[in-house]
C-alpha cells in the first residue's frame, strides 16, 4: 500500500473515531457495581444491556429481575464537546425508573480541567429515583423555574455553572440510552427494536400550500376553546379566573397547527430557504423536527424562553414514554403559502437516538398555566393533548425495514437498468478501445454525448451525483461496525460507487471523474459550448499547476477535520462541494451558493476542469484511492517525451509530463492521447514511420522497376 493510501486510511479512521468507541465493561466489572445480593445476568446479544437480578438464599432461592444496566456509549453515543462520546453506566429498574447513573469516562473540556469531575458526578447522582416517564430537564438559571416545576410532569435537575452545554449532552445520552432499553426490554412499545422506526421519505417533495398541507394530514390543526380551558381548571383555586373566557366561552383560546418539518413536503414548502438549510445543518440522519404554529391567547413558546432550550409549555410522549424536545432556534420566516395570521411558530428537534417513530402517532401536551397570588405566585397548570401522525405516504415503513431498500430498488428498477447498461457499455468500449473512445473522429462525438447523458440522466434525473459525504458516512459506519445497509436506500449511488471502485483498480480515478461525475460533465460541456464563442482554456504555468493540484488534498483534510469537529462546521465545509447546489438542487438556492457553483463552471471554461483538478475533495479521495490501479493502460512509445511532446501539450489537464510520463492521479480518461497514439496521421512517431515506409516503398519500387520488366 502506498504512503498516500495509508495516510488516507489514517485520516478516515480519525474522522470516524468518535463513532468507533464502544462499551468496555465485562460481566465481571459490572459485578463490582452490583455486588450480592444482586446478580449480574447474561446478556442476550440483542441489546448491549445486562439484566440485574436480586437473589436470595441458600437455603431458599429466588431470582428476581430488578432491572437492566448498560453503558450509554453502546446505545446512544452522543458526541461531546471533545468529539468523543461520554460513557455513563446507567441502571434502570423494571418500571423504567433510574436506579443509578455513574460516569465511566468523559472528555468534556469543562469537567477535565476547570471544575473537575466532581460536579458531574453530583449531577448524574440526581437521576436516582427519577422515572423515564417524566420529562427530565436541566435547570439552567438558579431559582428561575422552580415554580413551574410544581405539578408538572417535568422534573428539573440542578445544573452546573458554565457547563450547561455538556450537561445537555449527558442528559441526552442518559435518556436516549435508557429509552432504547425501556422500549426493547421493559415491554414498552411492544418490545419493538428502537432502530426499526419508520423513516421519512427524503425523496418525496410535493408543492403544497397551507391548505394542501392540512388536507394531506401533514399539518394537524387543533382548537382549544375558552370553555375547554375553563372546564379543566374547574374546582381548582384558579377556576373562573379568566374574565374573557366567561364572556365568550366558545371563542378559541388557542389554535395550533403541528407537523413534522423534517418531512420535506412540509418543511420545504413552509420554511424559507435559509430556514430549510439551517434545519438540514442542525439535524442528523434520523432526527425529526417538530414544527408548531399557533394563534390565540396563549403562546406555546414563551418569548422569555432561552433559545435552544427544552420547552416549558410543551411535552412529547409516544407509547407512554417521554421524549425530549429541544428548540431548534430557527431564525427565519415562514413562506407565505396561504396560512392564516399566526401569532408565532417554533421548530423543535427530536434526536434520532430517542427512538421517536414518525410512523406511529405521538402525543403532544400543551401546558396552560394560571397563577394565583401576587407576591409569591403559585402556578397551576393543565395539559391539553394533541395527537400528531405523519401520513404513511411520506414514510418508509418500519416493519419492512429489510424490505425497505428492496422496494426502493424495485421502484427505481428502470433507472437502475439504464444506468447499468450505460456503465457496462462504457466499460466495454473503454476496455476494448473501441473506435467510439479511441478514434479521434468518433471520440469527438461519443464523448460529449455520453457527458450529456451523465449530466442529464445520472445528475439531474436520477440524482446520482456521488459526493465526499458518502465517503465520510461509509467510513464512519465501517469503523463503528455499523451496517452499510443505509447506503442501499440510494440505488444510484450504490451502483455508481461499486462501478467507480471497480474502475479504480483498472483505470484509476479518471473513469468516474472524467465520465460519470455530473458536475464534471457540466464543466466540460460548458467548456465545449464556450469554444463556439472562441473562448479557449489557458494552460496554467507548470509549477503553479503542480502546487494547485495538491490543494485539493487540503480540501479533503479540511472536510474530514470539520466533520470531526462539529456538525455545523462539517456542514459548512461540505459547501465547498458545489454538487448539491448545481446538480441536486439545480441552482435553486440562495445566491452565494449559486454564485460559487456557477463561478466554478465559468472558471472551468478558462481553466479546464479547474474545480476537479485543484479543489474537489472527492477527486482528492479518488486520486489517492486510485493508487490501487493495476495497469498503466495508456500506451506509450520510446519517443514519448523525448523528443515528442505532442500529447503532453495536447493534454488539457496537464497530466502528461514533459518527460512523457502519464500522471494517472490527474488523468480524466478523456482518451485524447490514446486516440492520438493510434492515429498514424497525428502521432509523430507513426507519421515518421509511415513516411519512412512510403519512402522506402517508393525507393524499393524505383529500384525494382528496371529489373522487374518481364
Amino acid at each position: 500500500m502506498s504512503r498516500a493510501l495509508r495516510l488516507l486510511a489514517a485520516a478516515l479512521a480519525v474522522a470516524a473515531a468518535p463513532a468507533a468507541r464502544a462499551g468496555s465493561l465485562s460481566q465481571q466489572d459490572l459485578a463490582a457495581f452490583f455486588p450480592p445480593p444482586l446478580l449480574v445476568g447474561e446478556r442476550d446479544g440483542q441489546l448491549p444491556a445486562w439484566p440485574i437480578f436480586r437473589k436470595s438464599g441458600p437455603p431458599a432461592f429466588t431470582t428476581d429481575l430488578v432491572g437492566y444496566a448498560f453503558e450509554s456509549i453502546d446505545l446512544a453515543p452522543v458526541p461531546g464537546f471533545s468529539g468523543t462520546p461520554l460513557d455513563l453506566l446507567v441502571a434502570i429498574d423494571a418500571n423504567g425508573s433510574f436506579v443509578d447513573v455513574r460516569v465511566l469516562s468523559q472528555h468534556e473540556p469543562v469537567f477535565v480541567g476547570g471544575v473537575g469531575e466532581e460536579p458531574l458526578r453530583r449531577f448524574v447522582a440526581q437521576y436516582r429515583g427519577l422515572s423515564l416517564r417524566q420529562s427530565v430537564k436541566i435547570r439552567t438559571s438558579v431559582g428561575g423555574q422552580g415554580a413551574a416545576a410544581s405539578g408538572s410532569s417535568a422534573v428539573y435537575l440542578d445544573g452546573v455553572a458554565k457547563a450547561t452545554a455538556s450537561l445537555k449532552i449527558v442528559n441526552q445520552s442518559v435518556l436516549a440510552a435508557a429509552l432504547k432499553v425501556a422500549r426493547a426490554k421493559l415491554g414498552f412499545a411492544a418490545g419493538r427494536d428502537p432502530d426499526l422506526v419508520a423513516q421519512v421519505r427524503a425523496d418525496l417533495l410535493e408543492p403544497r400550500d397551507w391548505a394542501g398541507l392540512v388536507d394531506a394530514g401533514l399539518l394537524r390543526a387543533f382548537t382549544l376553546r375558552n370553555r375547554d380551558v375553563e372546564r379543566s381548571f374547574a374546582g381548582s383555586e384558579v377556576a373562573g379566573g379568566d374574565a374573557e373566557a366567561r364572556a365568550r366561552p366558545d371563542a378559541p383560546f388557542l389554535e395550533v397547527w403541528a407537523g413534522l418539518a423534517s418531512v420535506p413536503t412540509l418543511g420545504r414548502n413552509l420554511l424559507d430557504d435559509r430556514g430549510w438549510q439551517t434545519l438540514g445543518a442542525r439535524t442528523w440522519k434520523g432526527d425529526q423536527v417538530l414544527l408548531l404554529a399557533w394563534r390565540g391567547r396563549w403562546a406555546i413558546w414563551d418569548d422569555d424562553a432561552v433559545r435552544g432550550s427544552v420547552p416549558d409549555r410543551l411535552t412529547l410522549t409516544q407509547g407512554g414514554l417521554s421524549i425530549e424536545l429541544r428548540d431548534l432556534d430557527l431564525d427565519s420566516a415562514l413562506r407565505p403559502i396561504g396560512q392564516p395570521r399566526l401569532d408565532g411558530w417554533r421548530a423543535f428537534r427530536v434526536i434520532a437516538q430517542s427512538g421517536l417513530d414518525p410512523g406511529a402517532p405521538f402525543d403532544l401536551a400543551v401546558r396552560v398555566t394560571r397563577t394565583r397570588g401576587v407576591v409569591y405566585p403559585e402556578r397551576i397548570g393543565r395539559d391539553f393533548p394533541l395527537t400528531v401522525k405523519v401520513p404513511d405516504g411520506y414514510l418508509v415503513p418500519a416493519a419492512d425495514d429489510q424490505k425497505g431498500w428492496a422496494s426502493i430498488w424495485r421502484a427505481r428498477a428502470g433507472d437502475v437498468v439504464v444506468l447499468c447498461v450505460a456503465l457496462a457499455a462504457l466499460a466495454v468500449l473503454l476496455a476494448r478501445r473501441a473506435p467510439a473512445v479511441a478514434h479521434l473522429r468518433w471520440l469527438g462525438r461519443f464523448r460529449p454525448a455520453f457527458l450529456l447523458f451523465t449530466l442529464a440522466f445520472v445528475g439531474f434525473h436520477a440524482q446520482g451525483q456521488l459526493s465526499i459525504v458518502n465517503v465520510v458516512a461509509l467510513a464512519q459506519s465501517a469503523v463503528a461496525g455499523r451496517s452499510w445497509a443505509f447506503f442501499l436506500y440510494d440505488p444510484m449511488s450504490t451502483v455508481l460507487w461499486v462501478f467507480t471502485l471497480g474502475t479504480l483498480l483498472v483505470w484509476g480515478r479518471g473513469t468516474f471523474c472524467g465520465w460519470l461525475c455530473p458536475f464534471g460533465a457540466l464543466q466540460e460541456l460548458a467548456g465545449r459550448a464556450a469554444r463556439v464563442l472562441r473562448l479557449r482554456p489557458v494552460r496554467v504555468p507548470e509549477r503553479l499547476d503542480r502546487v494547485l493540484k495538491r490543494a485539493k488534498l487540503l480540501a479533503l483534510a479540511l472536510i474530514l477535520g470539520a466533520a470531526l469537529g462539529s456538525p455545523a462546521a462539517g456542514d459548512r465545509a461540505l459547501e465547498l462541494e458545489p454538487f448539491k447546489t448545481a446538480i441536486t438542487l439545480g441552482f435553486d438556492r440562495p445566491w452565494p451558493h449559486v454564485a460559487w457553483a456557477a463561478g466554478l463552471v465559468v472558471l472551468g471554461v478558462f481553466v479546464e476542469k479547474a474545480f476537479c483538478r485543484y479543489l474537489c475533495p472527492l477527486g482528492a479521495f479518488l486520486s489517492l484511492a486510485g493508487r490501487v490501479r493495476r495497469f498503466d493502460w495508456i500506451p506509450r512509445r520510446a519517443e514519448c517525451g523525448a523528443p515528442c511532446q505532442l500529447c503532453a501539450s495536447r493534454c488539457v489537464y496537464q497530466a502528461i509530463g514533459r518527460e512523457g510520463r502519464v500522471d494517472y492521479d490527474e488523468c480524466f480518461q478523456c482518451m485524447d492521447c490514446v486516440a492520438v497514439h493510434r492515429a498514424d496521421t497525428l502521432c509523430p512517431p507513426l507519421v515518421l514511420l509511415r513516411r519512412g515506409r512510403a519512402r522506402a516503398a517508393a525507393e524499393a519500387g524505383r529500384a525494382a522497376s528496371p529489373a522487374g520488366g518481364r
Binding site: 465481571q28 439484566p51 429498574d93 436506579v99 426490554k185
Partner: protein, 352 residues
C-alpha cells in the same frame, strides 16, 4: 408468564426484599467473576441468571470447583438464550419468525426440527389438543386482550381456519406451512427444550447437582446430601401462597396455570385454550407435569390442561415416566398420577 417458584427449606432472605428498590453502592475494585456461596460440605453453590422467553432464567450448580461450575453455568445460560433466539415468535429475524413471515424456512436449525417433530407427534397423540400451529388464534386473543375485549366468534372462526398441524411440513431440509396466513408458536415447548439443553450442558461439564429454571424446571442430584431439589407450586388465586411442593427426582417439571396470562378478569379465558375450539378449559386452574425430558413435560401440560381429565391421564400413560397433578378452579387437587404433592414447606413465605 412468570411462575412463582419456591425451593424447600423455605425461608426467604427477607433483607433483600426489604431493601426495596435501592441498590447497594458499587464496591471498589473487581468483584469475583464467580457468584459462588460456600456450602457446609465444602462445595460451593454457583448461580447465574439471564432473561429469555420473557421470564427470568436461573441456574444453580453445586460443585467443588467454583470457576469450573461458573463456566458450566455460563454455557448452560448461553444454550437457553440460543433456543430463545431461535424459537421466539417475537423477533422477526428468529427462524420461527422467518417461517411465520415467509411460510417456508429452508435449511432449518436441527434443534428447531427436533422440537417441531416432537410437536407433531404430540399433536397426533393428543388428537390436536396440542398444536404448534395455534399461533393465529393466540395472536388474535393477545391482540384482543390488549384492546380489552374478547374476540368475536367470527374472528375466532377465521383464525381457527388457519390452525392445523397437518398442514405443517417438517423436514431437515425445509419447514413449510402449506396455507397462507398459518403460523407456528413454540412458546409451549421451547422453554422445556431449553431446560433440557441447559441440563445437558451442565452434565457435560461434570456438574452432578444442578437446578435449571427456564420457566420449566430441570434438575439433577440434590441441593445437598439428603436434601433434594424441591419446587413450590404457586397458588392459582393467591400469588403469595403455595399449593404445595414437588420434589425434583431427576425428571423435569412443567407447570401451567390459568393465572399466568389471563384474557379476562375472571380467568375463564386465558392463554391455555383448545386449538380446536379456541375455548379455555372450564374446570382446571393449574396442572404440573413431570417427565423424563423438559420438552415432554412442557408439551404435555397443554393437552393435560385442555383434555377431559380421564383422557388427559390416558395420554400421560402413553409416556413412560410421565406424571401429573391436576388442580381445579378452586385449587383443589383433583387427580394425581405418578407425581406426589408435598405440603408446602413450613414458614411458607413466598418469593416476592
Amino acid at each position: 408468564m412468570r411462575r412463582r417458584v419456591f425451593l424447600s427449606g423455605a425461608v426467604v432472605a427477607a433483607l433483600a426484599a426489604a431493601a426495596g428498590r435501592s441498590w447497594p453502592r458499587p464496591g471498589r475494585g473487581r468483584g469475583a467473576a464467580v457468584d459462588a456461596a460456600p456450602l457446609p460440605d465444602g462445595r460451593s453453590l454457583v448461580r447465574g441468571a439471564g432473561v429469555a422467553f420473557g421470564t427470568t432464567v436461573s441456574i444453580a450448580a453445586v460443585d467443588g470447583d467454583p470457576p469450573g461450575a461458573a463456566a458450566a453455568v455460563h454455557e448452560a445460560l448461553a444454550a437457553v438464550l440460543r433456543v430463545d433466539a431461535l424459537m421466539t415468535v417475537y423477533r422477526p429475524e428468529s427462524e420461527v419468525g422467518r417461517l411465520n413471515a415467509d411460510g417456508v424456512l429452508p435449511h432449518p436449525d436441527p434443534h428447531l426440527v427436533r422440537v417441531l417433530e416432537f410437536g407433531l407427534a404430540l399433536a397426533e397423540a393428543s388428537g390436536g389438543a396440542f398444536d404448534p400451529t395455534v399461533q393465529p388464534l393466540w395472536a388474535l386473543h393477545a391482540a384482543c386482550a390488549r384492546a380489552g375485549r374478547l374476540p368475536a366468534s367470527a374472528e375466532v372462526a377465521r383464525a381457527r381456519a388457519l390452525v392445523g398441524w397437518r398442514d405443517l411440513e417438517v423436514g431437515p431440509r425445509r419447514i413449510a406451512l402449506r396455507r397462507r396466513g398459518m403460523a407456528i408458536t413454540l412458546n409451549g415447548v421451547a422453554q422445556g427444550y431449553a431446560t433440557d439443553l441447559a441440563v445437558a450442558a451442565l452434565r457435560a461439564r461434570g456438574i452432578r447437582d444442578l437446578l435449571v429454571d427456564a420457566g420449566e424446571h430441570g434438575a439433577d442430584g440434590a441441593r445437598q446430601p439428603g436434601a433434594p431439589w424441591t419446587v413450590g407450586l404457586q397458588h392459582p388465586r393467591d400469588p403469595r401462597a403455595l399449593l404445595g411442593a414437588v420434589v425434583l427426582d431427576g425428571r423435569a417439571l412443567a407447570v401451567s396455570g390459568d393465572y399466568a396470562a389471563p384474557f379476562s378478569a375472571d380467568l375463564r379465558h386465558h392463554h391455555l385454550f383448545d386449538p380446536r375450539t379456541g375455548a379455555s378449559p372450564p374446570d382446571l386452574s393449574t396442572v404440573a407435569v413431570a417427565a423424563p425430558t423438559g420438552l415432554l413435560a412442557d408439551g404435555l401440560t397443554k393437552p393435560v390442561m385442555i383434555l377431559p381429565p380421564a383422557r388427559a391421564l390416558a395420554l400421560l400413560d402413553r409416556y413412560p415416566g410421565a406424571g401429573a397433578l391436576l388442580f381445579d378452579k378452586s385449587a383443589r387437587l383433583v387427580a394425581a398420577r405418578g407425581l406426589t404433592l408435598l405440603p408446602a414447606a413450613p414458614g411458607g413465605a413466598t418469593p416476592s
